[in-house]
């Protein structure tokens, strides 16, 4: 050993000795969530995300191929989710709320890492769990509220029932990374649809924690698939994918909206979006005004069935 390398070695020993009482934290690798599994992006790409309280995270940067895989997983999960009885779908959503409660501290830390104050983050997590419970009560009420029997003038029994559209891609709200995400996602799931969700680009960590919650919940694999990455890169493919039946563009940046709608129109995909005067801001889903079902109703198909009455 030369003189130089001996000096280096002693510095290393000193560093280890200095911190021997502090346990080194095991950091989480933020991954994608596709078909119930946690892959890295097939592209091998990550984006370095600087966190508000120091440090950084390497967030998976999903590719077009990851998106395709997510659509495949969603499509194969769709019939089973739609076929579950409404009460059970509600209970499964409620179970997710139970598990979120258990992980409240981690969701809170995620929000703090994205710049939320402590009490603000705590409130946001509580509101998100409550929002999920609000939606858990919806599945077995949807047909009564949105469907019905139709008193036609001829001698027929005619009823209208809402049915799920199928595979819905959600561009989650950018500035409401947990409450907004939960609101848009839960509406889609309550209606019996399956989802591919594009997490907030600047604040993806609550979405990552949600994937880890969903994985141990009763939500079947493939019913929710969550991608992190860049919207400008993924959205042209997401809106034009022919096996995506609907797109929730609530979180779509204004400059991408027209192209997104043109893409969705190519295959007559259903579209939900912000109202004209609505802004993508953190407060958009807070309180009673956040209890909204436009993200649920946009992806329900009304089926009207006729049958003659007679002997």
């Amino acid at each position: 050993m030369g003189k130089k390398s001996g000096k280096k070695e002693s510095a290393l020993i000193a560093a280890v000795t200095a911190s021997d009482n502090a346990r080194l934290e095991i950091r989480r690798t933020p991954k994608l969530y596709i078909g119930g599994a946690f892959p890295r992006s097939e592209s091998g790409r990550t984006d370095v995300l600087q966190l508000a309280r120091g440090g950084s995270a390497n967030v998976a940067r999903a590719s077009r191929k990851d998106l395709r895989e997510a659509v495949k997983a969603a499509r194969s999960a769709a019939p089973g989710w739609a076929a579950r009885n409404a009460s059970l779908r509600g209970q499964i959503l409620y179970r997710v709320a139970e598990l979120m409660e258990g992980r409240a501290a981690q969701f809170r830390d995620d929000l703090i890492a994205h710049g939320y104050g402590k009490s603000e983050a705590t409130e946001e997590v509580a509101a998100s769990i409550d929002r999920l419970v609000w939606f858990a009560g919806w599945p077995d009420k949807i047909p009564a509220v949105l469907g019905g029997t139709n008193p036609v003038a001829s001698s027929h029994f005619v009823f209208t029932i809402p049915e799920p559209t199928g595979v819905v891609a959600i561009v989650a709200p950018e500035r409401s990374p947990l409450l907004g995400l939960v609101t848009r996602l839960a509406g889609v799931l309550a209606g019996g649809n399956v989802a591919i969700l594009l997490a907030s680009e600047a604040s993806p960590l609550p979405a990552v924690t949600l994937t880890e919650t969903l994985a141990v919940s009763d939500v079947p694999a493939g019913v929710v698939n969550i991608l992190t990455g860049r919207r400008s890169e993924l959205m042209p493919h997401l809106t034009r994918h022919a096996d995506i039946d609907g797109v929730d563009l609530w979180g779509c940046p204004d400059d991408l909206l027209a192209d997104a709608e043109r893409g969705a129109a190519e295959h007559v995909a259903r579209v939900a979006r912000r109202q004209h005067d609505e802004k993508d801001r953190a407060s958009a889903f807070q309180g009673e005004r956040g209890e909204r079902i436009d993200g649920m109703t946009a992806f329900l198909e009304m089926k009207t069935v006729w049958h003659p009455i007679g002997s």
């Binding site: 139709n150 036609v152 003038a153 209208t160 007559v268 259903r270 009207t304 069935v305």
Partner: protein, 518 residues
């Protein structure tokens, strides 16, 4: 057309030729079955024409803007023809983007100053009044509709016109009950609504569009189809007669570009379109990013599924009604017959026999079942797709029937031996052409029925109730008719899955499309 009633006719021996004699190897040499309508036949009917004089068609029509008839900016006109005779009926204004602008200005002003301010119960009364006037003038409407569109007078008289009036009646009652339509929310009108409608049900589609729009408090700019403007222009007279405030309803005739100008105008907050999927996509793309509400009612390729336990005579009537109602120019037409293999041979034979008794010809004759095709262009589309069916290997059959020498008429056409990949099984023909596909199991029937980009309607024929509910639940179609077909009612929502569009017309769901809630 009643689909669940068995045909009211005496029993008689069914004369069935061997299949080889009934089917053609290739067009155009098409052997015909003996006609049941020949003069020597007991089925022959004497002519029973409705009087043309009942339609008071004027030689020329302007645009209906701000409560008055206006000349188009361009000064140009187009001629609308009677498809049954190819004779001109009237000249109508050829509107342009400038005319659309004037109409939207009128609608916008009427919305802000009048229609959004009057008491909802007064708004309701205008709609009731319109419905009543339509009933009173129903015969004039029916005759005008048949002359302009080519549809049989029996259908315009018994279906189109009464249903149109019923739509206004139904939605009239919603106008002052909107708070019950969206409980817990505050419903508001969008403002100006732009509407573009097709030529197959000109007055009925107008009613489906205008009635809920007005009830919800919107004002309207509507573009009727270029080949069938007359009942819409007659409706403009009804608006005047009802003293509807000027600008609440504006009806402008013109080409497709004018329709696009209506849709894309920033003052139009909501767009409703009924027509082809390709045009629907263009409209959706044209308004992308503008924040407008949009509903689309597009094409269809409905499966009419006949199971082996079906009541066969009723099913035959239902299949006939499904594809030959309005010459098959119906977006929800049952254009694919899926018949269970075990009964296919017998069912096809009965179907052919029934097809020989269809009366094709003068739409003004009260006995006519199948009238004229709406336009020469549509004749060509049908001809082209039928030729593709033959070229791709399906077997074509048509009953012998004498078509009028003038006018655009197409023989009722049956294809057997159709593969799912054939164009006639995939593309909307919009004509009296039925493509037959067989299946063995319930699952296969569902899979084949859903094997289409469309999802507007479907039919199920079986005597087994549990099967109806099971199959109905699995069909990706917005309207499922079980042991009936082509039924419509203002209270029953209508609209498609998949590429048949989105949004519903009729019922509470049809009203919601014209409301925004905060």
């Amino acid at each position: 057309m009643s689909s669940e009633q068995p045909p009211k006719r005496p029993e008689r021996a069914v004369k069935r030729a061997a299949p080889s004699a009934l089917t053609a190897a290739a067009a155009p040499a098409v052997p015909h079955a003996a006609s049941a309508l020949a003069a020597s036949s007991p089925w022959a009917y004497s002519p029973a024409p409705e009087s043309k004089e009942l339609a008071l068609i004027r030689p020329r029509y302007g645009l209906f803007i701000d409560g008055q008839e206006r000349a188009p900016v361009s000064g140009e006109v187009v001629v609308t023809y009677n498809p049954a005779t190819e004779e001109p009926l009237a000249e109508v204004a050829k509107g342009s983007a400038e005319d659309a602008d004037r109409a939207i200005t009128a609608a916008d002003r009427a919305h802000r100053k009048v229609w959004s301010k009057i008491e909802p119960r007064e708004r309701a009364k205008y709609l009731y009044r319109i419905s009543r006037i339509m009933q009173e003038r129903s015969r004039e409407f029916a005759v005008t509709e048949t002359l302009d569109s080519g549809k049989p007078i029996r259908e315009s008289r018994d279906v189109d016109v009464p249903l149109a009036a019923a739509h206004f009646w139904y939605y009239a009652g919603w106008a002052d009950k909107l708070q019950y339509a969206v409980p817990g929310r505050r419903p508001e009108s969008h403002g100006v609504v732009g509407q573009v409608i097709p030529w197959n049900f000109p007055l009925l589609m107008l009613a489906w569009k205008i009635a809920p729009a007005l009830a919800a408090g919107n004002t309207v700019v509507l573009k009727p189809a270029s080949t069938t403007p007359l009942t819409a222009l007659l409706f403009a007279e009804v608006c005047q007669q009802a003293d509807l405030p000027p600008g609440v309803v504006n009806i402008i005739t013109g080409p497709g570009e004018m329709g696009m100008a209506i849709a894309t105008d920033p003052r139009v907050a909501k767009v409703a379109f009924t027509g082809s999927t390709s045009v629907g996509i263009k409209i959706a793309q044209g308004i992308a990013g503008q924040g407008k509400a949009l509903t689309l009612e597009l094409g269809g390729k409905a499966a009419n599924i006949v199971f082996e336990d079906a009541a066969l005579d009723q099913a035959v009537e239902g299949v006939i009604n499904g594809i030959f109602f309005n010459q098959g120019e119906v977006c929800c037409a049952g254009s694919r017959l899926l018949v269970q293999e075990s009964i296919a041979e017998e069912f096809i034979a009965r179907l052919k026999e029934r097809m020989t008794t269809l009366r094709v010809g003068d739409p003004m004759d009260k006995n006519t079942d199948v009238g004229a095709i709406n336009s020469r262009a549509q004749m060509e589309t049908i001809g082209e797709l039928v030729a593709s069916g033959v070229a791709e290997g399906a077997k074509l059959w048509q009953p012998e029937c004498v078509l009028p020498t003038r006018g655009w008429f197409y023989k009722p056409t049956l294809f057997t031996g159709v593969a799912q990949s054939h164009r006639i099984a995939r593309e909307e023909i919009f004509g009296p052409v039925l493509s037959t596909i067989t299946f063995r199991t319930v699952d296969e029937a569902i899979e084949k029925a859903n094997n289409t980009a469309y999802g507007l309607s479907a039919g199920i024929w079986t005597e087994k109730g549990s099967r109806i509910l099971q199959v109905a639940a699995q069909l990706k179609a917005g309207v499922v008719w079980a042991n009936t077909f082509n039924r419509f009612d203002p209270t029953a929502p209508f609209g498609g899955y998949k590429e048949s569009g989105y949004g519903r017309e009729g019922g509470l769901q049809g009203l919601s499309a014209y409301l925004r809630s905060s």
